[in-house]
């Protein structure tokens, strides 16, 4: 029953779990937390992309989740462990309503409208003082300490990043589990089919609108959940960080990894794009140039992303083996 794939996965999880014990520098742990968040966001992009939806509003839903959780815990006094899932539910509801309208618009309309939505959300967060205006919200509460069996309790402070890392890891693995469950089900096959040939999928009885809306809602809710985590981790929210610029960064992470690899691609892409600027000592102001260059290189030379190269080698090395994508 224990396939090779299963063993690899367990290995990866163990390595990820032990990472902060090896890399003790809190700044690097912060980087890995951001890698995790960005990877999950990139996964939501690919989820929608599969069904033919190019979403320019991912950061907007990330922001909705963040602000919702911040509001719930600060204005309504909810404990963080309650506001986290509650914010996800709020994001899901908003995604359902907005999504119904956006998905109906069709391919090109969807792109434009999600872009508009991305700008509008930033405007809303910045204009209304209840959201803290363009200055943003500061001092968002950290999650309350939780008891860990045999170890004691885990407290979340601004100083030690480790508990946040493990929380992020837990959430990320949960999201990957949920995504994988959907992808390997008939829903995942339907998404794939719709993305490959919408007309054919329709003629086989697939309701394009329903499946696309489902992908949109799941993707946006996951983004929102990561946002609510981010709010209580980072402690500060500034409306500007939730605009289409952030979304485009997320796109690059996904494309760099390879859009045909819905889970692994985003991890690779976000790892590289988050860590490489560090090693190259690229400062924050110059980072957009780095991202832009990567974008151009990708479009010109590597549209299938880095993991797309592995397919190429597979095809060249073993001409007798079949190279079809198996639906699993």
């Amino acid at each position: 029953m224990l396939s090779r794939k299963f063993i690899y996965i367990i290995l990866v999880i163990v390595i990820l779990a032990l990472l902060p014990l090896v890399v003790r520098n809190p700044y690097y742990i912060h980087l890995f937390i951001m890698v995790g968040i960005n990877a999950i966001l990139a996964m939501t992009f690919i989820l929608m992309l599969r069904t033919g939806l190019i979403c320019l509003g991912i950061a907007a839903f990330w922001g909705i989740g963040a602000y919702a959780s911040a509001m719930l815990s600060m204005k309504l006094g909810l404990p963080v462990w309650l506001s986290l899932p509650a914010a996800a539910v709020i994001t899901a509801i908003i995604a359902a309503f907005i999504g119904a309208f956006l998905v109906k618009q069709g391919g090109f309309g969807f792109i434009i409208q999600t872009l508009a939505f991305g700008f509008i959300i930033v405007l809303i967060f910045g204009t209304f003082q209840v959201f803290g205006g363009y200055v943003g919200i500061v001092g968002i509460s950290h999650p309350e300490p939780i008891p860990i069996p045999f170890v004691g309790s885990m407290t979340f402070t601004s100083i030690s990043k480790m508990p946040f890392y493990y929380l992020m890891l837990f959430l990320a693995l949960l999201m990957v589990l949920i995504l994988t469950a959907f992808y390997s089900s008939t829903a995942g096959r339907a998404w794939r089919a719709i993305g490959l040939s919408a007309h054919l999928a329709e003629s086989l009885g697939m309701n394009l609108f329903n499946y696309r809306l489902l992908a949109f809602i799941i993707a946006s809710t996951i983004a929102g959940l990561m946002g609510s985590f981010f709010a209580h981790y980072f402690g500060t929210l500034v409306p500007g960080s939730f605009g289409p610029f952030k979304t485009i960064n997320v796109h690059v992470y996904a494309i760099l990894g390879g859009i045909n690899f819905p889970i692994l691609g985003p991890v690779i892409g976000s790892l590289i794009m988050t860590l490489v600027p560090e090693f190259l000592r690229i400062t924050e102001g110059v980072e957009p140039i780095f991202t832009g260059i990567i974008m151009i290189l990708l479009v010109l030379f590597l549209p299938d992303g880095l993991l797309g190269l592995t397919r190429l080698w597979q095809r060249r090395g073993k001409p007798s083996e079949n190279t079809s994508h198996h639906m699993n």
Binding site: A181, S185, R189, R192, H199, E202, L204, S324, H325, M327
Partner: protein, 256 residues
């Protein structure tokens, strides 16, 4: 089984289908022929729900399906193939057919996402059925081949296999024999006969007259979106108007 009543479809100012009245009987193979642009594929597109009609109605098994969307019409039991080789190119042949069983799942959506044993069993069952369908078509050996790598003839039959997987009552075949050599055409003719023997009603759009005359119980001829002739193959062969419709196009082609 299927009835079109004064069916009309305008694209801008052009009536692709113009007040068409048409009846399809159960378990027959009905041939739909006519020069290019006669409205045959538009008729298919309207019946299968890809275009709403401008006016008129389509009745299937007595019920009005005119305003239904394509996926709903598929659920009602009407399937089609496409003129171009429309397949899931990046998937294997088996996966293409397997996708055709999408509508047939009985287990609930949530159960399928949670991968309950029941759901998994059903999935395995459909994988088996997909293999059976491929065997029925004589394509079992190609099951792992990428759809994009198939020769043209097999791509057409794969399209038919997928439409079959949906367990249709009515099958719309859009030029299934196009681009096939003589042997492939013989195989397709045999295949369509076997499909009809399964109890399925078939509407066949085809340009190859030999195929049409060989297969069809009845033939309807369209030109400029209207029915210009209807009857048994022998009658249509000798129908002056039909010959003119085709020859007329031939002559204008030669003159141009």
């Amino acid at each position: 089984m299927l009835e079109a009543i004064k069916l009309t479809k305008y694209f801008g100012g052009l009536a692709a289908v113009n007040e068409l009245n048409l009846i399809v009987n159960q378990n027959e193979i009905l041939g739909l022929i006519g020069p290019n642009g006669a409205g045959k594929t538009t008729f298919f597109n309207v019946v299968s729900g890809f275009f709403p009609p401008t006016s008129g109605r389509v009745l299937f098994e007595g019920r009005d399906i005119s305003q239904l969307e394509a996926h709903d019409i598929a659920h009602r039991g009407i399937s089609r193939t496409f003129q171009a080789s429309t397949l899931f190119m990046k998937l294997s042949v088996l996966d293409n057919v397997f996708t055709g069983y999408h509508m047939s799942y009985r287990t609930g959506f949530l159960k399928r996402v949670l991968h309950t044993p029941l759901a998994r069993k059903e999935e395995e069952g459909f994988k088996q059925k997909a293999l059976e369908t491929l065997k029925f078509m004589g394509m079992a050996s190609l099951k792992d081949e990428l759809a994009a790598n198939l020769p043209h003839g097999y791509q057409r039959t794969l399209g038919i296999a997928m439409a079959l997987a949906t367990n249709p009552k009515l099958l719309l075949l859009d030029e299934p024999a196009t681009g096939m050599n003589l042997n492939e055409k013989k195989a397709v003719i045999d295949l369509i006969r076997r499909i009809r023997d399964m109890g399925i009603t078939i509407i066949l759009v085809e340009h190859d007259m030999k195929v049409v005359m060989d297969l069809c119980d009845r033939i309807i001829v369209l030109n400029f979106g209207q029915k210009i002739a209807e009857g048994l193959p022998e009658e249509i062969k000798s129908n002056r108007e039909v010959v003119e419709a085709y020859l007329g196009k031939e002559e204008s082609k030669n003159a141009a």
